[in-house]
């Protein structure tokens, strides 16, 4: 009996002691806004293929990522969905300021489940979002901290729709969770980026927020100050290439800089 117990324990011990697979290969940790997931996965794959460096990406709300970096999370690169959170990390000396640059842009759209009766909604001052939502709620990312939520609140406020919309909001922890709400038909409406709507076949865009209703969505990139990874600089350089540009534009992002190659 004891022999058997020892064998089981030994098995567990071996499981625990087994070295992690990616130990030998060089790897890079990227913390990126949730909306970047699909596009950045593709771009990172291209980077890995070209350089042999494995990219481990953590996609969450930029607010959550910035706080984690502040708490000592081991990120090498940070890509935020708004300038405010990059400014936050900069103010707390969490990034190398000379590596910072604005990479991408995006647009805010109103979405509905694919089978929704809603079709073309004219979003202008005075549009009645509450009536459009009916009994249901409007999915947005957390309006206090998450960039997508903050853009949404700004847009609704400048359009005079915030007061009516606020009690009907269903706030999610990031923009992809917001997208999932609408995709699962849990809310009749949602506010996400155009790039999110593009990759989710279960939703359709029913309206576009006018550009002057919210500040331009900008994705700044920077290397973290704690990073001692040489691959980080290579990664940032890669993001500036034409190859990367092609990937991002395919997903609907606007590429803000002149590509270097």
């Amino acid at each position: 009996m004891f022999v058997r117990l020892l064998a089981v324990l030994g098995l567990f011990g071996a499981l625990a002691a087994a070295p992690q697979p990616a130990a030998a290969q060089q790897s890079l940790t990227v913390f990126a806004a949730a909306s970047l997931k699909n596009a950045l996965d593709d771009a990172s794959a291209a980077f890995s293929k070209a350089t042999g460096v494995k990219v481990v990406a953590s996609y969450e709300a930029s607010s959550a990522l910035a706080k984690q970096i502040e708490q000592g999370a081991p990120a090498d690169v940070f890509i935020s969905a708004d300038l405010a959170w990059m400014d936050y990390t900069s103010a707390h000396k969490l990034i190398k300021p000379d590596t910072r640059f604005n990479l991408l842009g995006n647009r805010l759209v109103l979405i509905a489940p694919k089978d929704s009766k809603l079709d073309h909604v004219a979003i202008a001052k005075g549009f009645d979002i509450a009536k459009l939502a009916g009994d249901g709620r409007i999915a947005v990312a957390d309006v206090k901290a998450v960039p997508a939520g903050r853009y949404a609140k700004t847009a609704l406020t400048s359009l005079g729709a915030w007061a009516a919309a606020e009690p009907k909001l269903a706030q999610a922890e990031n923009v992809r969770a917001t997208l999932a709400f609408v995709a699962r038909n849990e809310t009749p409406l949602g506010i996400v980026y155009a790039t999110d709507a593009k990759i989710e076949p279960k939703v359709k865009i029913v309206g576009e927020f006018p550009d002057d209703a919210y500040p331009p969505v900008t994705y700044p990139v920077a290397e973290t100050s704690a990073s001692k990874n040489a691959a980080a600089a290579r990664y940032l350089a890669f993001l500036r290439t034409g190859a990367a540009k092609a990937v991002f534009e395919k997903y609907g992002f606007s590429y803000l800089i002149k590509p270097v190659s």
């Binding site: 499981l15 625990a16 990406a57 708490q71 969770a177």
Partner: protein, 231 residues
């Protein structure tokens, strides 16, 4: 049917690893504390009891947050460990071991304590008259007789650690390959368009592993009990 990417399998392997290490590391502490609570009365015993069981009743995120502010990079203990020994737990798989271990600990202590309390102390008295000092008495009489409870406690803790989510994601977040356990991976997949099938596949894997752990626990405990009574 099971369509999982390499990243998903990494989450499975990581979960198993974290749960195993968490269980093995907390086992000696669990046995020690359970014995203390079962056998000794001391000033402050009720308080110790309450603190041990706290993770069972606190919201997991609260436990994770408490871990973050004490063991995190800027927390009192975390900063000390990092500055003097270079040991960092936050956002590392070792931190996940701690959060999973802490959440599972009360279950382990409870099971072991009950089995120690059930041991006939007259047997320990007999061992003492035969010359067994406190240590050997514990090692040769108490511990073997408590074995079924210890096995049950360990497996319960393992299963709990395997499924831990709230405290872990708060303390060490969700970094693939480092801290993304099965639960975190499933959670992430719920936000990926078209990720439902992968999420379900992971759910199946999680259920299978948990069931296997429970079945193994039952079998081992039963065998231990049978051996005790001379089978």
């Amino acid at each position: 049917m099971i369509e999982l990417s390499p990243q998903d399998w990494t989450a499975v392997a990581l979960s198993l690893r974290i749960a195993t290490v968490a269980t093995l590391v907390s086992l000696p502490f669990g046995i020690a504390i359970a014995t203390l609570l079962a056998r000794r009365n001391f000033w402050g015993k009720t308080l110790v009891d309450a603190i041990i069981y706290l993770p069972l009743v606190l919201p997991p995120v609260v436990t994770g947050y408490l871990l973050l502010i004490t063991l995190g990079r800027h927390g009192p203990v975390g900063a000390f460990l990092a500055d003097h020994f270079g040991i960092v737990f936050a956002f590392r798989w070792t931190g996940a071991v701690i959060s999973c271990g802490v959440m599972a600990f009360p279950l382990m202590v409870r099971a072991i304590r009950l089995s120690i309390e059930a041991i006939d102390r007259r047997l320990e008295d007999a061992a003492a008259t035969l010359g067994a000092g406190p240590f050997w008495n514990f090692a040769t009489v108490t511990l073997p007789l408590a074995l079924p409870g210890i096995i049950a406690g360990a497996m319960l803790a393992f299963a709990r650690a395997l499924g831990e989510f709230g405290a872990t994601i708060t303390f060490v977040s969700n970094i693939p390959g480092e801290t993304q356990t099965i639960s975190a991976a499933i959670y992430t997949l719920t936000q990926v368009p078209g990720g439902d099938s992968a999420a379900l596949s992971l759910v199946v894997v999680a259920v299978v592993i948990s069931l296997a752990a429970l079945v193994a626990s039952e079998w081992l405990a039963r065998r231990a009990t049978a051996r005790l009574h001379g089978a």
